[in-house]
């Protein structure tokens, strides 16, 4: 199915029409672009969803009405900081990514 972008594909293995499967960029983890990462303070979180809504990369997942928070998927988070900037309760802090 989805392959890494740098994977070479033989002519005979190419899909007809040079197509791709839907949503297959999931195989490409953009998380390693990140130099800063969002750190969440779940105590202050009011489950407003702005981080989920405004993330350009759609990395936040709704953890549901019981847990009442949104969890970032660090496989894809590029560390842009929009979530931290838009959080009305300042419960997201951008901290240096530890390598």
């Amino acid at each position: 199915m989805a392959k890494e972008i740098d994977a070479l594909m033989k002519v005979r293995d190419l899909p007809a029409g040079f197509t791709a499967e839907p949503g297959s960029t999931l195989a490409f983890k953009t998380g390693d672009w990140r130099s800063m990462r969002p750190k969440l303070d779940r105590e202050k979180c009011i489950y407003c969803g702005f981080c989920y809504i405004y993330c350009p990369d759609g990395v936040y997942q709704d953890m549901g009405k019981d847990e009442k928070w949104y969890k970032p998927d660090f496989d894809y988070c590029k560390g842009c900081g929009v979530c931290a900037h838009e959080c009305p309760k300042d419960c997201i802090e951008m901290v240096l990514e530890e390598v």
Partner: protein, 323 residues
Amino acid sequence: MTNAAKTPYEKVTAKTFPKGPDALAPGHRACQGCGEVLALRLLLKALGTDMIAVSATGCMEVCTAPFPQSSWRMPWIHVAFENAAAVASGVEAAVDILRRKGRGPDRRIPVVAVAGDGGTADIGIQALSGALERGHKDFIYVCLDNEAYMNTGIQRSSETPFGASTTTSPSGAKSKGQSTWKKDMPAIAAAHGIPYVATANPAFHLDLMSKIRRAAAIEGPAYIHVYASCPTGWRIKPELAVAIGKLAVNTRIFPLYEVLDGRYVLNRRVDKPVPVADYIKQQGRFRHLKDDDIAIIQARVDEEYERIVKLADVFPVEAQEAS
């Protein structure tokens, strides 16, 4: 009320916000803090995957579909730069006739063409004009306006705002950057007599998402002009993607309105506008501008906003209803 205004559609509210997986998958290569991909993600989220998407060449196409991968979860096609409207016309006509001939799904399927400002206002304007004029029933055209040719390296387009320094409208000893005002694409689209035109901004996400749903519900061509911030091209901090969009509306630089069967509806009155300078001073592309230059821009912004207000004031009752 006009037919377009009467067409029922499901608004997106905080309560009904679609929470399923995004129709645009992560793993795309958009820059950190890209306001354009945010707009795209929210627009697609509002419609879901029961649609067909057509992309023009540009940032969104390149960053979402490098072989062998694609972020698009609905059927998607990209052919070239200037022709998204024409490709979408063909797709729309095909879907419609196949439905009529009993060889396709028996329901309306929105065909959404997505292009940048260059692909819309410059190289693609002919194909767009043709498509709007022909009246395709399930045709939605979305212009994601980041105000320059970002994919090729920040060259000016006819949507680049006055005073912005780009790589082909650089500021210098004899230049203040872009010397022309933004081409009024929503007005051009509206002049085709199509049932629905709107401006939208991802910082006002419910409004943006509701508008594409309305566009899909209305029978006939729709045009949505979407504000799309660009940290790379505008030289702003990546975390400002949403904040800068809010400022664009609250300074009256980017008014949010709809044109339903030719009638303007202002979606958001900005009675106490933030000074334009607050918007301009956050962006490296305007760094060279002096207070006098900003005053010129402020005057133009006020004038343009008043023009929209006057157009909307012609039908005040409807405006109340829609807002």
